[in-house]
């Protein structure tokens, strides 16, 4: 004990240094761990931008479902982290006509994939984890998922947490939970902004007048009309003076002039149109897209259009036709993806990167008929997702009748596919998987991601270079900082350390301090990341529209990097210890 108190007494002047070191390690560990996760997120982001193209696609012939399950198990035994989608696929042709029976697209060969997904969402009820079946799923401007409680009773409504497997879904964006006798529903919608709240308040109070500041002058104007849909407020304004600025303040709701899209006085009325908070709307859509993509494990079909052509039946060539031709050239160069989500209400939503957008652009109205192998489907375009910046779900939505579509497509076990998604697929794993799959089907055909999207490889490599360079840069900075600290330590305390050395206490103190700081950081970061995963996810979902998954592998790599660093510092310290000189130190 006395020995420890001696060491503590000598080192106590270094307390600030120890604290700073711990913080430094803490920050670095966090940067490294999150940095590695960012790499994974980036890969996912890249994939999402390309319609979920698998790292490896395998085509197989006539394999029963049972064997596919067996294959899935075997792939997981090779590498647990690999995600697998498997199912059946076939090629059909579709023809699209508008409501006047004009053919818009003729004999488009489409590849239909039926994916086997789970229909279960894990929920925590009264502290217990339960797997609940999705009873219905609705998606329009709002998202609504209804889960069947299967007779379970819920005492504490506030304890409900939505989980998938072992992770929690970070639900926000005005997510509402409805607990009913037999069902539990999650409903998300975008949050109201101040304009919505103002209109709601006017409605609620049945206000006839509104106090406003016109060019900084306070006045009270009669409300003529409130148009919620177009976010417009019409006020009586008999003054002939043009208004440049308006400020509205009603019971804590403040709408400055910057929230106004247009301000006009016309015919005794002042018409105020408010801007829409597109950022909020955009965030909401990306959030929904993320939930749809990751958490709604529902029956889904992927229809891939190979090539399609617009009809040339019409003689008359107008500017629209010229445009069509141009589009045709472009479209034929593309491999389009149609992503379809089927709903229990009998509809199926098909989202398309190009098709619906082009149909819209070419002046097609909302409703049209889609014919697939001679069977007609009524479809309507929902222009919900037509925002250019969207990456994940930048698609318009077509709605079909699900049951008819499924029946008529007659999907069976004829052709199988296995899509393999991995964070990194090294050559050894790839060879193992190929070898195993070939034992099931000698004709198995393999397509790797880079054959479909040649640009994805260079992008990944570029990102890897950035991640590695950044890590090395941070590592370098830390190394220099630590080297300076080490030099300072040995010059400030040379006499004390040399005296201790004289009496046999020759220990690498700086390495001890580093190791203690490192251990404290490692433990605290582990607990923060592990137990605050939900909070981190909420933040990630709110600002980055994606989730953070604690990955012990990434965490371990970060630990190894820092441990190597401590080891290097230790060797440098050994050199400093050897040079300790009592005579010089004093």
């Amino acid at each position: 004990m006395k020995k420890l108190s001696f060491i503590f007494n000598i080192l106590k002047r270094r307390i600030l240094n120890i604290v700073l070191l711990s913080i430094m390690f803490l920050a670095l560990l966090l940067i490294f761990t999150l940095g590695f996760s960012l790499k994974d997120l980036f890969y996912e982001y890249l994939r999402s931008g390309y319609g979920n193209v698998a790292d490896l696609q395998v085509k197989l012939n006539n394999l029963p479902q049972k064997q596919l399950l067996e294959i899935k198990k075997k792939i997981h035994s090779i590498d647990k982290s690999i995600d697998i989608l498997f199912g059946y696929e076939d090629v059909y042709s579709i023809t699209i006509t508008d409501s006047q029976d004009s053919t818009l697209a003729k004999d488009m060969p489409i590849l239909v994939k039926g994916l086997n997904f789970q229909k279960i969402i894990q929920v925590e009820l009264d502290g217990k984890r339960e797997n609940l079946e999705i009873e219905s799923f609705e998606y329009d401007d709002n998202l609504k998922i209804v889960l069947n409680l299967n007779g379970l009773k819920v005492d504490d409504k506030d304890s409900i947490k939505f989980l998938t497997y072992d992770d929690a879904i970070a639900l926000d964006f005005c997510t509402l939970t409805f607990l009913e006798k037999d069902t539990l529903s999650i409903e998300s919608k975008y949050c109201e902004d101040d304009v919505d709240r103002l209109f709601f308040k006017i409605d609620e109070k049945n206000s006839k007048f509104l106090e406003v500041y016109l060019d900084d002058k306070k006045t009270k104007l009669k409300i003529v009309e409130v148009d919620k849909l177009y976010r417009t407020l019409v006020l009586q304004y008999k003054n002939e003076l043009q208004v440049k600025k308006i400020f509205i303040n009603l019971e804590n709701i403040q709408l400055p002039n910057s929230s106004v899209a247009s301000l006009e006085s016309f015919d005794g009325e002042l018409i105020v149109s408010f801007k829409r908070d597109e950022n909020l709307e955009l965030k909401y859509k990306r959030y929904i897209a993320k939930i749809l993509r990751n958490y709604i494990n529902y029956n889904r079909f992927v229809l891939r259009v190979k090539n399609y052509a617009f009809s040339d039946e019409e003689e008359y060539r107008d500017p629209l036709e010229v445009m069509q031709e141009k589009e045709l050239v472009r479209l034929n160069e593309l491999t389009d993806f149609l992503d379809m989500v089927t709903f229990s209400n009998g509809n199926a939503a098909v989202s398309s990167s190009y098709l619906a957008y082009d149909l819209n652009n070419l002046g097609i109205l909302d409703n049209f008929t889609m014919s697939i192998d001679g069977v007609e489907f009524q479809a309507s375009i929902r222009s919900t997702f037509d925002y250019a910046p969207e990456r994940i779900y930048d698609k318009n939505i077509l709605i079909f009748n699900k049951k008819v579509l499924e029946n008529e497509l007659g999907i069976g076990d004829a052709n199988n596919f296995i899509d393999i998604y991995a964070q990194s697929l090294d050559d050894d794993t790839l060879t193992q998987i190929k070898k195993m799959l070939l034992s099931y089907d000698a004709k198995a055909k393999f397509i790797i991601q880079e054959e479909i999207i040649p640009s994805i490889g260079p992008k990944k490599r570029m990102f890897n270079i950035v991640v590695v360079s950044f890590s090395l840069f941070i590592f370098g900075i830390l190394f220099i900082a630590m080297y300076v600290v080490l030099r300072q330590f040995y010059s400030n305390f040379e006499s004390e350390l040399a005296l201790l050395k004289l009496f046999g206490l020759n220990h690498p103190f700086q390495t001890y301090i580093n190791s203690i700081s490192f251990l404290i950081s490692a433990v605290s970061i582990y607990f923060v990341l592990r137990y605050e995963e939900n909070s981190i996810n909420s933040i990630m979902m709110q600002y980055f529209f994606t989730r953070y998954d604690f990955d012990i592998k990434n965490y371990s790599i970060s630990l190894i990097i820092l441990a190597v660093y401590i080891l290097i510092i230790y060797f440098l310290e050994r050199v400093s210890m050897k040079k300790l000189n009592l005579i010089k130190g004093q």
Binding site: F6, S495, K501, L502, F503, G504, N506
Partner: protein, 245 residues
């Protein structure tokens, strides 16, 4: 069994880049129950001899023995075993300036893994021995009264008493003392020698190499050892030691 160096040479390059030879082919042996006094002018190599024997100087030529432990260059092992063989008193003291007197006295014992009971007992002995030291006609020094005082705030004379206590704390076989008792007047010096010979049996319970500038030290030592100890004086001449006849 002795503290011994054979054919030792040591040189260093000074700030001007000139190589300076300090010791040349020097041999020296400190046997059991001996006191050896070493005289020499400033820069003759007296302190270097102590650092060398203590295994604190690198890049020397020759051989050194600590009893049966033989070495020709320094290694971390020397740090671990040094306190088993010797106690050292440096000319410029070297102490832990942020610590108090008691900590400074006891820390060689603490790091030599001595038992707590030994440390407490020995510490008490130090307080008892270094008490009522008559520094002047009016001033009396009691080590115990300073036990909690920061050593950095003490006078040189007071500090040397602390350093003597630290040197004696481990009851070592060999004592290496550089310019021992240099801060004291003749009166205090004599009191200290009386303590060293009567209480700590200098030269009979241990062996000592004492570096000094004080011409009368040999005479004082002979007087206070009362002829019981083999005391030899040496002079540094031409980078080596010559026994004084």
């Amino acid at each position: 069994m002795a503290l011994e160096c054979r054919d030792v040479s040591f040189s260093f390059v000074d700030n001007a880049g000139v190589e300076k030879q300090i010791l040349k082919n020097m041999s020296f042996k400190l046997d059991k129950n001996q006191i050896k006094l070493v005289y020499g002018h400033i820069g003759a190599g007296k302190s270097t001899l102590i650092y060398l024997l203590a295994g604190l100087l690198d890049d020397f030529e020759g051989e050194i023995d600590w009893d049966d432990y033989h070495f020709t260059n320094i290694s971390p092992k020397l740090d671990k075993i040094r306190s088993k063989y010797m106690s050292i008193n440096f000319s410029n003291f070297f102490y832990l300036k942020d610590m108090n007197v008691e900590d400074n006295i006891m820390f060689p014992a603490v790091f030599s893994k001595k038992k707590k009971s030994y440390i407490d007992e020995r510490l008490e002995m130090m307080y008892e021995t270094f008490s009522d030291i008559q520094l002047s006609d009016t001033e009396v020094f009691n080590l115990k009264n300073f036990r909690n005082k920061k050593i950095g705030t003490m006078s040189n004379g007071q500090r040397e008493i602390v350093m003597l206590a630290r040197m004696l704390m481990n009851d070592s076989k060999y004592i290496l003392a550089d310019e021992m008792l240099r801060s004291f007047n003749t009166n205090v010096k004599k009191q200290m020698l009386e303590i060293l010979f009567d209480k700590f049996h200098l030269g009979t319970a241990n062996s000592a190499l004492i570096i000094t500038h004080d011409d009368k030290m040999l005479e004082y030592m002979k007087e206070y050892s009362k002829g019981r100890v083999d005391i030899t004086a040496y002079d540094f001449i031409d980078k080596t030691l010559k026994e004084r006849v």
